[in-house]
Subunit: 202 residues, 2 copies
Amino acid sequence: MNEPRYQRRKEDRPQEITDAAYSVFAEKGYAAARVEEVAKRAGVSKGLMYLYFRTKEELFKAVVKNVVIRRLDTLLNTLETTELSSEEFLRGPLLDFMKQVPGSPIAIVIRLLIAEGQRHPDLVDYYWNHVVNKGLTAISRFIRRGVERGEFRETAVSDLPQVVLAPMMLAMIWRLIFAKRELDVERLMDTQIDMIIAYIKA
Amino acid sequence: MNEPRYQRRKEDRPQEITDAAYSVFAEKGYAAARVEEVAKRAGVSKGLMYLYFRTKEELFKAVVKNVVIRRLDTLLNTLETTELSSEEFLRGPLLDFMKQVPGSPIAIVIRLLIAEGQRHPDLVDYYWNHVVNKGLTAISRFIRRGVERGEFRETAVSDLPQVVLAPMMLAMIWRLIFAKRELDVERLMDTQIDMIIAYIKA
DNA sequence: ACTCTTGCTGACCGAGAAGTCAGTAATTAT
DNA sequence: ATAATTACTGACTTCTCGGTCAGCAAGAGT
């Protein structure tokens, strides 16, 4: 008859709060996000928020760390474990990866970092170490492997994997700002990969 | 002896306030920017702010419109008026333009748009019409002129000037987030232009 | 010189949101 | 059953900041 008004679930709370916070930050950005709104979506009281995260800022950092890393690691794993020729790899898994990023939570986190990064240098460091650097290094490694195997010639692309990712960045920003105006993301990235392969092929 | 406490300068105020606002928004972003801080830098009282701009939001829009357009128009003009072969144009003025954007106020405005665009759709429209669309169209026109002249072959790049600008976007975001970590912007863009020309040359 | 107009000031107001804490009730220990 | 523990609640406090307005004084008009 008398249902308990709440359950104690110490273990699950951090994850649930973090997920709720992600969705609020994604919609509103950091500054406009209300801690009380996060509490509501997580199904807890405002007070409880402060038992798990000392401040709103700490909550923000937890979001970037948990949510993103969790979803990114699967992606990076497939990147590391495939065994294809370098060209097949560029045209297959890497291209697919690039196409899906602009619509993924990573794009949201990039927005938060662009907007708030200045005030959270340690968060930027963390993101650099655990996401960007990892990804760039992985791509570089593949290009270099292609060079070693004689598939590719030595070009600036070996040192600048950013060349590969540039259209992905543009597509991300495009969607964040100009969501409505359509951009042919597929064709954009296909073209870039075509161009790169033509350019570096031995 | 008795210096006047202030001067009346109705004409100059909007510009001065707008410039001050730009510098504060650039440093703090929209949400964290304080109207009083803008007033201080503009050398006026907080009250005066509201005689020239009805709300903080209107001030924000004025910044995007005035500051950016003013500085962008000179750039776009040189883009339109040069008379070089298409390849020379890509390797010369356009490349120079792309190299200087990531360090210019445009990058700052892009940050503001990414962070706050969701809540200011009309601002995004304005920026689209007066900056992005203009720029993209100008580039498309040049590529197509090259095709007509027989310098280039018909490729996706004719419809997707975004291919050209992609590394510029990456460099911009890179600097906004990872200011410290160096990125060889010159080499990145040189490579992209090299690649593109090799790809589209007839 | 003496109004008169109006550009300008700065103390003030009120909304709203981050963060607190005394108390409550779910769970565990005895 | 009863007591002890602690996860949890939500009303409250405090403070910040966008926006207001009554009055002041700079400069124009006469």
